[in-house]
């Protein structure tokens, strides 16, 4: 009994000193605070921050072909695009391209859907505004903040080229795995065609 009490007391004192030692050690450790406006995080390459529209570095024109795939992919319908046909080139061009960043959930699906590397989620932040309407980004603004974003134009992979070639010859439009498993995919695609 008496031994227990003495052990409890010595244990207690030991633990008190242990606690002091831990805090004292931390006193000399390097502080992990970043002094924000003067020091900044290096944002990871694939971080999903503010959305930008990318332009061709040579011509300075938007990469976007107004195919509307991104606005269809968006789960919250944050993207609204109006397009017109350019009478000279007979190609579509976006006339207005608005992203409502107040409802955007930064899922990145628009970036995945785009076939022309025209829309990208970047590591940029610091776009807070005092007015909600300022968070509705229009085409000019999206292009402006995307000017200095480095990107690699997505090249068509061999598998995709194949798929494109197949699509042109009237067969299945799919990825590489479909091409590998022809026997299974062909009937499926046939049905899909019938339904169309």
């Amino acid at each position: 009994m008496a031994g227990n009490i003495i052990k409890e007391i010595t244990d207690g004192i030991y633990n008190l000193i242990l606690g002091l030692a831990v805090t004292f050690k931390h006193l000399f450790k390097h502080a992990i605070t970043l002094q924000y406006p003067t020091e900044r995080w290096e944002m990871p390459e694939r971080s999903r921050g503010t959305i930008v529209l990318l332009s061709d570095p040579e011509t300075g024109r938007l990469n976007c072909t107004a195919c509307l795939l991104c606005s269809k992919a968006c789960p919250v319908a944050a993207i609204s695009i109006e397009r017109i046909k350019n009478p000279d080139t007979k190609k579509f061009e976006p006339q207005s391209f608005n992203i409502d960043t107040t409802i955007c959930c930064y899922c990145g699906l628009c970036e995945q859907a785009c076939n022309f590397t025209a829309i990208k989620l970047t590591g940029k932040y610091e776009f807070s505004a005092s007015d909600k309407s300022k968070l509705l980004y229009d085409m000019g603004f999206l292009q402006e903040i995307g000017r200095d974003v480095k990107y690699e134009k997505r090249e068509k992979t061999a598998a995709k080229k194949k798929a494109v070639a197949k699509a042109e010859t009237g067969e299945d439009v799919g990825g590489a795995p479909v091409a590998d498993a022809k026997a299974e995919s062909s009937p499926g695609s046939g049905e899909a065609k019938k339904e169309d």
């Binding site: 002091l20 006193l27 000399f28 992990i32 605070t33 002094q35």
Partner: protein
């Protein structure tokens, strides 16, 4: 050579030469008060900043960094902010009680410095009952905390005030008893006398003859100043901020200032009683002015109090009471008995 009392004495002599006696007494009284008040205010500003820095670095943060070099001016900026704040008085508050509580708290903390020897000859008034006076005057803190709790008419404040009354009254007992041992060895109640009895070298310091007394004193004093791990009167998580929850602006600043002044008082008393006061650890270090030794030792002690605060969690109310009455009090009595026996055997 850098002793500060030389300067004060010179000024006093010069004043005596040009002014009548009564005026000199008045001026020196007001002047000393002003100097101590200014010193304490600057000290409190520094200690608040220091505590923030210590706590920040213990948690691997940086603490204030923007105002001045590593944020040294942060407390001044906060003070300016507090002065600008609206001085709210709750409509149901007991006005006189509410108003006087911070004043008493601050004055009690400030009055203790009447007898604290900052250096050789550097004491406002060397009362022959110095240590008794300090114990008496610092007890006023509990009155002010109770007044703040009662006057605010807020249940959290009242709980905080009640807790602080219970805590401080309990810890007052072992605190006083722990000091007795040192007083028995020094054979005087005067602060200067206690310091002089420890002159010569660090082996004469009372800590080596009063280790139990020192431990009891330090723990009880931490509780007296409401510092963590004994800060239940202002336990933020339970009582919002305890007794001072209704206070804003300058009144809050006075409570805050008093807390840090109290922290330094504890350290100053600990240094005076147990660590030789202004004496250098060895006579060969006597070329360093005595007030530097005193301030250095006190600041180390303040750092230890901060260190406690950022290491230990708060203890429960029942544990707090049990610790005071069941552990510290018997230990303090044991210390007195041992000291008495020691005096009896070695002196005679």
């Amino acid at each position: 050579m850098l002793e500060l009392n030389v300067i004060f004495e010179a000024v006093h002599r010069w004043l005596e030469g040009i002014l009548p006696q009564g005026l000199v007494t008045l001026i020196s009284a007001l002047g000393t008060g002003g100097i101590v008040l200014a010193f304490l205010s600057i000290l409190a500003l520094f200690l608040v900043w220091w505590e923030r820095k210590v706590s920040a670095h213990m948690q691997q943060r940086l603490g204030p960094m923007r105002t001045g070099w590593h944020g040294v001016l942060q407390t001044i900026a906060d003070g300016v902010k507090l002065v600008q704040k609206e001085d709210l008085i709750p409509s149901t508050a007991d006005r006189p009680v509410y108003f006087w509580a911070p004043v008493i708290c601050f004055v009690a903390a400030f009055m203790a410095y009447l007898v604290i020897p900052f250096g050789r000859g550097l004491i406002v008034q060397d009362l022959n009952i110095g240590i008794l006076y300090i114990i008496a005057i610092t007890t006023f803190t509990v009155v002010s905390l109770l007044m703040a709790g009662w006057g605010s008419n807020n249940k959290w404040a009242l709980l905080g005030g009640m807790r602080s009354a219970a805590q401080i009254v309990s810890y007052e007992v072992p605190l006083t008893l722990s000091i007795l041992g040192a007083v028995m060895l020094a054979e005087t109640l005067s602060m200067v006398g206690i310091v002089q009895s420890q002159a010569g070298g660090f082996w004469n310091w009372l800590i080596f003859r009063q280790p139990i007394g020192f431990i009891v004193y330090y723990i009880a004093a931490t509780a007296e100043a409401n510092r963590t791990p004994f800060d239940i009167p202002e336990a933020e998580q339970e009582l919002v901020a305890g007794f001072n929850v209704e206070y804003s602006g300058m009144k809050f600043a006075m409570f805050f200032l008093a807390e840090f002044v109290n922290m330094f008082t504890i350290s100053a008393i600990a240094v005076t009683l147990f660590f030789g006061g202004w004496n250098a650890p060895h006579p060969i270090f006597n070329f360093v002015p005595s007030w530097i030794w005193f301030m250095g030792k006190s600041l180390v002690s303040v750092f230890i109090l901060m260190w406690f605060r950022w290491t230990y969690p708060r203890i429960r109310v029942d544990q707090l009471m049990g610790f005071a009455w069941k552990f510290l009090l018997p230990l303090a009595f044991l210390n007195i008995i041992l000291t008495g026996l020691g005096v009896l055997i070695f002196r005679n």
